[in-house]
Amino acid sequence: MDARVSVIDKRLKNIKRIISVASGKGGVGKSLVASSLALNLAKKGFKVGLLDLDLYGPSSHIILGVKDVFPKEEKGIIPPNVHGINFMSIVYFTEDKPSPFRGIDISNIIIELLAITQWGLLDFLIIDMPPGMGDETLDVIRFIKKSEFLVVSTPSKVALGAVSKLLKILKELKIPIIGVLENMSMTRSSFIKNEIDSMDLPYLGCISFDNALEESIGKPNKLLESDFMKDLDDLLEGINL
């Protein structure tokens, strides 16, 4: 019997809300949304954790410009606080080298991370999810029963193909879906809104394509002032965050 699994609930007990930022599709802005959401909430005075579960292509540390920090070992491992966020990522352990993991390894890494990370008291834990619907998604569903999902799409039909599959399975399993956020919109179109409406799920609004966003990558203070953040912040108001 894998003992590590049993302690996970205890590790997450003092976290008020857990929000997994997911999509099914890659490159839609999950990591940007997750990191920005964490920054936004921290700035509002909440106690916030951020867990990067994209183990192949971890991005949150790039977006937040995290460097030269390492978790403290104390009755487990304590995520370093960066820009007001308790931040946990596989990069602490990989030196950012390639990570050729198979599914079973992914699952074991997630179990280990959840079993040994001491988050303490948090208002929010934000999880930056990888694309797909594999071991990471299935394990978040299996081990983090109280996680809600915030789903990101772009305006494209290609993205919606993967996004709607994730939405269908979450809906079928009666997992709370905060709603769908449309990112990188360039022209006014109600394509995504209509599709989400027809699935009877909340459409949260859209974030415009931000031409200057790349300059804010790695610079949280700049990111806080970006158009991207402005759009996100407006949209968060709509869901009382």
Partner: protein
């Protein structure tokens, strides 16, 4: 000292299992720790003792028996098998410590010693598990 978190997981799991089996008292827990976890056994035992003190009667007189599960690694490319002591020779301190926290980063820091592939399998030697529990109803 992240050993503490794993020790706690053992005790939480044991109490859970005891409740399922309707045991009033747990007299013995046999624990298997994968070699890749590189647990410091002293620290782990100390943690077990400290946590047991804070627990109720169920665990008061429990005996813990700790075994290390030897590691076997097997290459999917060339079928060569080896173990952690072979692997450790080529790891620096940081890499080895990273594997201590997350055994699967072995795939990041190590390769098949025969063919160089990162596509190997941890057949045995990872994780922390309970192999048996004794007690009284």
């Amino acid at each position: 000292m992240h050993e503490w978190a794993l020790a706690e997981s053992i005790l939480v799991a044991a109490v859970e299992a005891a409740e399922k089996e309707k045991l009033k008292i747990i007299s013995e827990i046999k624990i298997s720790i994968g070699e890749l976890q590189q647990i410091e056994q002293d620290i782990f035992e100390f943690a077990l003792e400290e946590i047991i003190k804070t627990q109720g009667d169920k665990l008061k007189n429990v005996k813990t028996v700790i075994e290390t599960e030897k590691s076997t690694l097997k290459c999917k490319n060339c079928e060569h098998t080896w173990d952690f002591s072979d692997m450790k020779k080529k790891l620096n301190e940081d890499e080895s410590e990273a594997i201590h926290f997350i055994p699967e980063v072995a795939f990041v820091h190590a390769r098949c010693p025969k063919c160089g592939s990162p596509d190997f399998e941890i057949m045995t030697g990872r994780g922390v598990s309970i192999t048996s529990i004794k007690g009284e109803r």
